[in-house]
């Protein structure tokens, strides 16, 4: 399964939910915001949100800025 995470195409071996992806790719899930195919998914729904081939996922968080 191929999904695009933050603009980069990534091959995933098994079907996984959003919660697994966030744990795999982010140091911590606190203050991580997930947008799947243009829709914001609240953290409480990550566990029930499964990813499918061709999905586009954005994982964003806060950084310093003026």
């Amino acid at each position: 399964m191929n999904i695009i995470i933050n603009g980069t195409s990534r091959q995933l071996n098994s079907t996984r939910n959003l919660s697994d992806i966030v744990s795999a790719y982010c140091k911590q899930s606190r203050h991580v915001i997930a947008e799947l195919n243009g829709c914001i998914i609240p953290p409480e729904q990550w566990g029930q949100t499964s990813l499918k081939d061709g999905d586009t996922l954005e994982l964003v968080t806060f950084v310093g800025g003026g």
Binding site: N6, T8, I33, P42, E58, F62, V63, G64, G65
Partner: protein
């Protein structure tokens, strides 16, 4: 003389200094600067997580009592600004947003028209909207109509430390717009911040100057003091500037009777 608090969207703040959190060399400088600035509103930005480099979360370094103001930097139009604001709100870190729409990579000037469009949409969705603009009376009036909570005109080019180049245009906004005017961008020294406050700005935002100083926490404190001094100057009802000298001491009752020779 005691000052009234800065009030934005019904929330009171005793500090009139907003601090940006970009460009700090390290997180200790950032935390120390927020503390010494006594700022109660700090700006942050939103970016894609770097999946290869596990970076630290900046929010861990911002004291909890501070109001977060997320900017929409990176947005090139109203649609992108709205998207960034919605993402920020989804984090649960509040609904205060500094609308920043820039689509010119040379001067980095804000696009007032797109900013107004974004302000209309986000205010209607319940965001507390603080738009960053080039100081323009018509744009500011449109933002009042759009439901903005404050207006943030630039003092000079962002990150330039050039100070209050737009002073007369900001003065127009201060006189005509019934919202807090917060001078943002280009303020490089405490004296420039004081100048903005002396003409009646409600607050000043600084970032680059503090973050890139050799000792950021010291400059943050200096800014805070200058902003307070400038504010008191404004409240005092500053006297007019004159084009000629006027003696500070009385010109009568001298110890001699003859007029001093030239």
């Amino acid at each position: 003389m005691t000052d009234t608090p800065l009030v934005i969207a019904g929330k009171s703040f005793s500090s009139r200094f907003l601090l940006g959190t970009g460009k700090f060399k390290n997180k200790k400088d950032l935390t120390d600067s927020i503390v010494s600035s006594k700022s109660e509103i700090v700006t942050v930005a939103l970016r894609r997580i770097d999946l290869e480099r596990h970076e630290e979360n900046i929010l861990e370094y911002i004291p909890a009592h501070v109001t977060l103001l997320t900017n929409t930097s990176g947005a090139r139009n109203a649609r992108e600004a709205v998207r960034i604001a919605r993402l920020a709100k989804a984090s649960g870190c509040g609904n205060w947003v500094k609308i920043e729409v820039i689509n010119d990579s040379k001067y980095l000037l804000p696009d007032n028209q797109e900013t107004i469009k974004a302000a209309e949409i986000l205010s209607a969705e319940g965001f507390v909207v603080l738009p960053y603009i080039s100081p323009d009376l018509y744009a500011a009036r449109a933002l009042v109509k759009a439901g903005a909570a404050a207006v943030m005109p630039l003092g000079s080019f962002i990150g330039s430390n050039q100070g209050l180049k737009t002073k007369e245009f900001i003065r127009v906004l201060i006189n005509e717009i019934d919202l807090p005017i917060i001078v943002d961008a280009g303020i490089g020294t405490p004296s420039q911040a004081a100048q903005a406050m002396e003409i009646g700005a409600e607050a000043v935002l600084a970032n680059t100057a503090v973050a890139t100083a050799q000792n950021p926490a010291v400059l943050a404190r200096a800014f805070a003091l200058a902003i307070e001094a400038g504010r008191l100057g404004f409240l005092s009802g500053l006297p007019l500037q004159l084009s000629l000298s006027q003696a500070s001491s009385p010109l009568t009752g001298f110890l001699y009777n003859d007029i001093p020779a030239n």
